[in-house]
Structure formats: C-alpha cells, structure tokens
C-alpha cells in the first residue's frame, strides 16, 4: 500500500508566553514541532506498512526550516518526503492550499492519504477535506482506528459523547486522523541523524504548472486581518490555596450562583 501523509510544522504554545508582533505571532522564543495530529497520522502509516508492506511518503508545505518535520517523519520510518516550498504559497487559505497540494499529489498513485484532523496553530480542520474534494476522493474525518483491507479501508470515526461509527471507504481515499489513535514512537537524535542524507524532493510553484494568480493571498477567499491575544475577562477570579481549598471555594461559588441544586 502506498500511503501519503501530510504533515505541518507548528509552534508549540502550550506552556509558552505568547507575544504578538505586528499582527503575527512572535516565533522568537517558540519551538517548532510536528503538528500533534500529523504525528499520529505518520505513526499510523508507518505501522500499516510495517505490518503489511508498502511505502509511506510525507509531504509538507512551508518554509525552508520546515524541512525538520519531514526529517523527523523519515526517522520514524517513512520512505520518502517532498517539500512544497515557495514564497508564492504564502498567505494561501485552506482551499488554495488544497489546490496546490492536489496538483503535487494527483499523479502520485497513492492508495491512502492521511492528514491530521487539524493543525495546532490555525485549527481550521479544513485543508484535508478540501484536498479530498480537489482530488475527487472519498474521505472520512476524526479516525480513531484504521483497518486497511483489499480495495478498501475501514475507518472508526470518533463522534460526540463517547460514540463512534465505522465506515468503509473504497481506495484510494483520504482520512483525517484524530489524536490518540496510537502511541507515536519516540524519535531519537540518532534516528534523525541517520536520515540526514536522504534527499527530500523540493517542489516549487513552477513545477506544478500553477499560474501565480491562482496562488497565495491573491487567490484566497479568506484573509487574515489581525491577530490578538484574548483579553483577560473582567469576571475572571483566581482561586488561591491548596487543592482541597480551591475545590471548596469553587463549589461554594457554584452553589452561591445557583449552579448546584
């Protein structure tokens, strides 16, 4: 089975102090890491090929530094990687990105395309589905289990309230992968060093035969106007003290405001 996984390099923000600089996130003190959902997707793809053969290809769209995310995936066991890297792509909205990626993917002969459910930075959760649309492939989102079989893949999708459903898609298909589908492996520094010499295919706008007008902000329907940190709300009240005391205080407030019967 030939599997393509789309991956993205994103800033890790969980514990960081964020600063906005001229309408954009100040990346100075932030670490770029593989998008969490994509990491699960790569692991899933590698496991499938480890179990039943095949090849895993990776693809990312981003600037030069984002090559790291491909190296990391190669170290996990992917077989090849492509890097869509061109200033012309800057400012694209998900639909435009999907068109670019579709142009790069369409002749690849992939049986299965995996992406993360969403990216940790913009969180639009739409590039994957739009790509399926561009390629005319059946798709399923929020996969928490994949069972590839002959000519099809059975996908368990996570639904609301602890329910799930199983769908069978004929191959080729596109699936977006939810976190927790597996336990991704650790990628050691040695592992990354070992794949340092593998060549990564570089793809620019020209290679895809796309006209400049169909790329970037100009071609996009959605544009980012400004970025701001959510203001600290008036009503926020910080509870101080040990765990028990915080719980007691919280319960008291809930009771007082009528939140507890």
């Amino acid at each position: 089975m030939k599997i393509l996984v789309l991956v993205k390099n994103v800033p890790e923000v969980a514990e960081a102090e964020l600063e906005i600089d001229q309408g954009a996130l100040d990346l100075e003190d932030l670490e770029m890491v593989v998008n969490e959902w994509d990491n699960y997707a790569v692991e899933e793809a590698v496991r499938i090929t480890e179990a039943s053969g095949g090849e895993v290809h990776l693809m990312t769209l981003g600037n030069e530094d984002d090559e790291d995310v491909l190296r990391r995936g190669l170290a996990m066991g992917a077989h090849a990687a492509s890097h869509l890297c061109d200033e012309a792509f800057d400012g694209s909205d998900p639909a435009t990105l999907a068109r670019v990626i579709a142009a790069a993917v369409k002749d690849g002969g992939y049986d299965l395309i995996l992406t993360g459910v969403q990216s940790a930075d913009l969180g639009q959760a739409s590039t994957g589905v739009l790509l399926a649309q561009e390629l005319g492939l059946p798709h399923a989102t929020m996969a928490i289990a994949l069972e590839p079989g002959a000519g099809e893949v059975v996908v368990t999708r996570e639904l609301e309230n602890n329910t799930s459903e199983k769908v069978a898609l004929p191959l080729p298909a596109l699936v977006t992968v939810q976190s927790g589908i597996n336990q991704p492996r650790y990628v050691s520094i040695m592992g990354i060093r070992k794949v340092r010499k593998m060549t990564i295919e570089q793809i620019e706008a020209d290679d895809l035969g796309l006209a400049e007008e169909s790329l970037g902000a100009a071609a996009s329907m959605v544009d980012s106007q400004s970025l701001a940190l959510p203001p600290m709300g008036e009503g926020a009240q910080m509870l101080e003290g040990g765990l028990d005391s915080v719980c007691d205080q919280a319960a008291a407030i809930l009771r007082e405001k009528g939140g507890l019967a």
Binding site: A14, E31, Y186, I189, M190
Partner: protein
C-alpha cells in the same frame, strides 16, 4: 621401597578411559572456545586498556575473595575453601600428568608431601561444598536462589571429591604401602574395607565411577556457572576502565555490541544475589532484579554472537528466545535508578548499570517502547533544554532580586561558575538551594557567576535515559559555551551534574580545558577549612544525613558533608541504618524522578522509614532530586509531624544566620 604413585593401578581398559577423557576435553574445549570467540567479538567492538586498578588489590580480590568476605564471613570462608581446594586439586592433577607423561618427579619425600597436600585440598573442597549446601538449603540466606544447577553442581563436585577419597582408601586397603598414613584421609577411610581382598575387588568399580563423574564434571565446567573461574578474575582485572566513547552507531540495537568488559561480566556473575539484596527497586518489591537482567543479557549475547547458535537447527529456537527476552527487557528497562548499590557489593564488579544504559539506548533508538512520560521529558530536554517546562529561558527565576553576573554575556572575570542545573533552577522546592548557596557564597566572599536564564543542560538526564545523541549534543553545546567564555572552574548544585560534567564531558571535548568541577558540598568544605565559612548560629537539632547516590557511591564524597554538619554548633548527627557508601536510594535517579511506573512502590518512603527510626527532627541531604523525592514522600508517607527535610545548602545558610529563604520558613520544624 621408594614411595611413588602407580597410575592405572589395577585398572584395565585404559584405552576406554582415554576415549572418555578425550570426549570430556573436547566438551571443555568447545565450551571455552565458544566463550573466547564471544569475548573476542566484544574486544573488537570496544578495545580495552590494561588494568587500571592496583594489581595487588586485584590479586587479593581474586585469590582471597576479599569482596566476598565483605558483610558475610561465612560466604568468604566458603569461597576461600572452595577456591583453594579446587585450585590445589587442579594443580595436583596437572602435576600427576606431568609426572606420568613428561618427567617423573613424584617420588620419595616429594610424593609424600604431595599426597598430604592433596588430602588437605580435598578436605577443603569437601568442607567448602558442605558449607555451600548448608548456606543454600539450611540457613536462610535469602538472596541465594535454589535452581536445579545450584544444587546439582555442588553435589556433583562433592561426588568427585568423595569419590577420590574412596578410590584412594580402596587402593591403600588393598596394597597397604608403608607410607599410607601420609594420605591421612584415605588412610582413615581404608579401615572401612573388611579385607584387602574386598578392597582389591571393589577398586576398579570405584575407580571407574570416580573417573566417569570427574570427566563429566570437566565436560560441564565451561557451560556451568563455574565458568566464572575464568571470567571473574578477568572482570576484576578490567575494573575501573575509563568510560569508553563508543561511536553511537556501534551501540545500535538492544544489548548488542557490549564490548569485552560487559561480555565478561555476563560470565563472571555467579547469581549470588547480592545486587538484588541492595537494589532499591527490587527491595521495594518492583518486578525487577539486576541479576535476572544480567542472566537474560547473557543468554541474548550467546544467542546473537555465539558461533554455536549459527548452526541451522538452533536458529529457530534462537529467534523465539530473542523475541521473548526482548519483550522482558522492555518491561524492566526503566526501573533502575542508577544508584550503583549493586556494583558496590558485586564480588566480581559485574552488576549491570552500564548494561542498563545500553539497553535503554537501544530502546530509545528503536522508539516505540519508550514510556510516554519519558518521551515527554526527552522532548522537553531536546527543545527547551530542561526536563520540566516547555519554555525556553526559564532558569533564572530563582535569582530574582540577586545581582549575579551572567557569564554567558560577560566571560570569566569571576573565579567560579556556579552551575545551577535544570532542577535546582526550575523546581520551586529545589530553588531554595540555589538561593541559599548564592547567599552563602556571597557571605564568604566567593566570586562567582551563573549562566543565567539560558544555562544549558549538562546532558545527565539524556545519558541516564539512554538518549545518546541528545546527550552528545548537550555536552557539546555546554562545552562550546564554557570554552568560548573561558570558564574552567565549576561548582554544581546537583551531584548528577557533577558526575556528568566531571566524568563524561572530558570524553567529548577536544580543547580539553583543565576542568575543575566541584560539588557545592566540597566547595563549602573548602571554605570551612580555610576559615572563610564559620557557622556562628547554633542549631540545637538532631539531624540525620541522607547520602545522595551520586555524591556518595558515584563520587565517594561521604565525609565532607558530615564534617560540615558537625561544624554547626549544637547540631547532633545521627546515622540511618544504611548510610555512606551503603546509602539507600531515594528513587529519583535514572530518570525515575519523571516517570511514574504504574503500581510502583515509593522508594523514598522506605528511606524515610529509616530516617524516622533515628528519631531525628531534620533529614538533611545534598541533592535537588533527593530533596524533592524525600519532601514528596514526607507528605505522602505520613511523616509530616515527624521531621522536616532540608538541603545542606539551606541548613548552612541558616547556621550562618542568613535571611531565611522563603521556603525554609515553611519546612522548619
């Protein structure tokens, strides 16, 4: 008549004996060849230097079994009797062969003394064997296992020794030579034969039985745990070898590429169980035993590298066993706290700390069995240079309000670099150590600076967790910074940083700056000796001192902290049951600070039970990890109203009357 020995006296079919002997020797040779070929592969993987330990000490360890006596005289006595009994008989047998086939010299007085000597050796052997069996079966020496070969081997050897005496007794009873009383044991036994005739008739039977049992033993020798007779001396000879910097590629795989020293360890181990007895994880009831790990490693090494397992019909079995062992190793790889207690007591210096590191390196490289908590720690270390926070530049929070030069920027216009370390600079409890130390240094007029909010990680955690590549990167980055700023004299808060910077960093620095690396307790001790540190605030407290493993065992620093404590007026120091080089680990080393193993016992609670037994009102330690582990255990183990936990640095600040750092007030009794 000239006393002499008559070989094959009264025995026919000597050819059969030669045939059996040839077979036994072939088995012996095959066993030895297998081992030697394994060791040779190890030597190619990692060459070793000649002995680094004083030769006299090595010889005493080998021929007197000094390390075996320690803590258990009956074990020492048993081994001494077995060793010299066996060795004497071995030399005797060789002498007989030389006498028979080369030059005849066993005649007259020499022969008589020779006979008497062999009697003594035989007796020693029998007594040693009886003591061994008693210890294993009648005395409750709980560390000893009772596996089939643990019993069969001494019984077999006992049969060899007793058989020898019986053969001799029969010969003496049948022929009654005038010098018979020189062979005093055989002579004593010869009385049991009713007549010379009966002895003469029984003799061939006894002789053949003895011959067959002895030859069987020879054949079994290299395949049994008696192989330690060769491997243990070799292992002792190679102790104290410098850490080898193996190209990481050579460490690939699980227990592969072990190197000669570690392969010798595998055969040197006699499964005596001393390591299990002191291992904090094993003793807390966790499903881990250093002895079992070593045993498995031995089997794996054989399966992988032994020429015998290349034989086609053993291959299938080989694969199955390898898979099984690998799964077992995954499960136990993360229990070890690298406390070094096992190595301290191992009679043959074989206990498996280094091997565990290699095992971890294999698992980290392979990736999919690394526990998620440790993955998270390694990723934080890689991205943010600390195991605690996903945040850069978070290492100077403790220093707020203190004016300490940042040596990343200004270079060496101070005498000392104070290397604070990840945990001390970030963990709120341990930060008290940094504050106390910087105040004490300032008070004593020590000129020092730190590496500020972006102090690099020294690489210790990556090393202990087997992340070789990350360790290398961190060490190189740290060394590059130190070189650039010309910093050569370092004081560490953590014994873990001390150990790594002192022992491992030099292997990675080409410039080779003359590093002087001290633990802060050494520095305080120096200041005290120079009269620059004078404790003028009496602390009338009963305290006990918990030796951090990396200070005591790994770096042999046990007296300095104690002398400092005794220098505090009014303070009374009492010792816990396990202290000094025998200290009991708090459970925070080897990455376990960041790894909660499901259902794990709290090792630190066991330590605090010992502390409670001393009646001390304060438990002092000298390591940020110990401090945190003990502090947590104090809360979870119900010791809160018994005693407080404090670091030596904080106690020193108090004994100097320095403004109590914020945290101290909270922990004072």
């Amino acid at each position: 008549m000239n006393p002499l020995r008559t070989p094959f006296w009264g025995v026919e079919w000597a050819w059969l004996f030669y045939l059996l002997a040839a077979l036994a020797l072939a088995a012996l040779a095959l066993g030895l060849w297998e081992k030697i070929s394994l060791w040779a592969q190890g030597r190619r993987a990692a060459p070793v230097a000649s002995h680094k330990h004083p030769l006299g000490a090595i010889l005493a360890d080998v021929f007197l079994g000094r390390r075996i006596w320690r803590g258990e005289a009956s074990a020492g006595l048993m081994h001494l009797m077995l060793l010299w009994g066996f060795l004497g008989l071995f030399i005797g047998t060789c002498a007989v062969a030389v006498d028979h086939y080369l030059v005849s010299f066993l005649q007259g007085k020499i022969y008589l003394w020779f006979s008497a000597g062999l009697e003594v050796c035989g007796l020693l052997l029998v007594m040693g064997l009886l003591l061994a069996l008693t210890r294993r079966w009648l005395l409750p020496v709980s560390r000893l296992e009772r596996r089939p070969d643990d019993t069969l081997l001494p019984l077999w050897l006992l049969a060899v020794a007793c058989g020898g005496f019986m053969v001799e007794a029969a010969r003496l009873a049948a022929s009654r030579p005038p010098w018979e009383d020189w062979s005093f044991v055989g002579y004593g036994l010869s009385g049991f034969f009713p007549s010379a005739q009966a002895a003469r008739e029984l003799f061939p039977w006894l002789w053949w039985a003895h011959a067959i049992i002895s030859l069987g033993f020879i054949a079994w020798l290299p395949w049994s745990k008696l192989a330690h007779a060769i491997a243990a001396p070799a292992s002792l000879y190679l102790q104290g070898q410098p850490l080898a910097v193996l190209a990481v590629a050579a460490e690939e795989g699980d227990l592969a590429a072990l190197g000669l020293r570690h392969l010798l360890h595998l055969d040197a181990c006699t499964r005596c169980g001393r390591c299990v007895e002191v291992c904090p994880a094993a003793q807390a009831g966790e499903p881990f035993s250093p002895r079992d790990l070593l045993r498995r490693a031995r089997r794996q090494a054989r399966l992988k590298y032994s020429p015998l397992y290349r034989l086609p019909w053993l291959r299938g079995r080989r694969q199955a066993l390898l898979e099984r062992d690998r799964a077992a190793d995954w499960e136990v790889a993360w229990y070890c706290t690298t406390c070094r207690a096992c190595l301290e007591v191992c009679p043959v210096q074989a206990a498996p700390i280094e091997m565990i590191r290699k095992l971890r390196a294999g698992l980290v490289e392979q990736g999919s069995t690394v526990p998620p908590q440790l993955m998270d720690v390694l990723e934080k270390l890689h991205r943010y240079g600390n195991p605690w926070l996903a945040k850069k530049g978070a290492k100077a929070g403790w220093a707020q309000g203190r004016d300490i030069p940042d040596l990343r920027k200004s270079g060496p216009e101070v005498d000392w670099l104070y290397f604070v370390g990840c945990t001390t600079s970030i963990d709120t409890r341990a930060q008290g150590m940094a504050r106390a130390l910087s105040d004490v240094f300032t008070h004593c007029g020590v000129s020092f600076g730190t590496l500020g909010k972006k102090e690099p990680c020294c690489g210790d955690i990556a090393r202990r967790l087997g992340e070789q590549g990350l360790m290398e990167e961190q060490i190189e980055a740290t060394q590059a910074l130190l070189n650039k700023q010309g910093l050569t004299r370092i004081i560490c808060t953590s014994p873990h940083c001390l150990d790594t910077i002192k022992k491992v960093h030099p292997l990675f620095t080409e410039e080779g700056l003359p590093l002087q690396v001290l633990h802060y307790s050494q520095m305080l001790h120096r200041l005290w000796q120079q009269g620059r540190l004078f404790f003028d605030h009496p602390l009338p407290l009963k305290v006990t001192y918990h030796d951090p493993c990396f200070l005591a065992r790994h770096n042999r620093l046990v007296d300095e902290p104690r002398q400092l404590l005794r220098a505090i007026p009014g303070l009374e120091l009492v010792e816990m049951a396990d202290h000094g080089l025998n200290s009991l680990c708090c459970g925070g080393g080897g990455g376990r600070m960041w790894h909660e193993i499901p259902g794990q016992a709290n090792l630190a609670v066991r330590r605090l039970e010992q502390a409670a037994a001393t009646g001390a009102e304060l438990v002092v330690t000298a390591c940020p990890l110990c401090l945190i582990m003990l502090e947590d255990a104090r809360k979870t183990g119900g010791f809160e109203d018994k005693f407080a936990i404090i670091d030596l640095s904080e106690l020193a600040a108090r004994a100097l009357g320095l403004a109590a750092t914020d945290r101290e007030a909270e922990t004072n009794p």
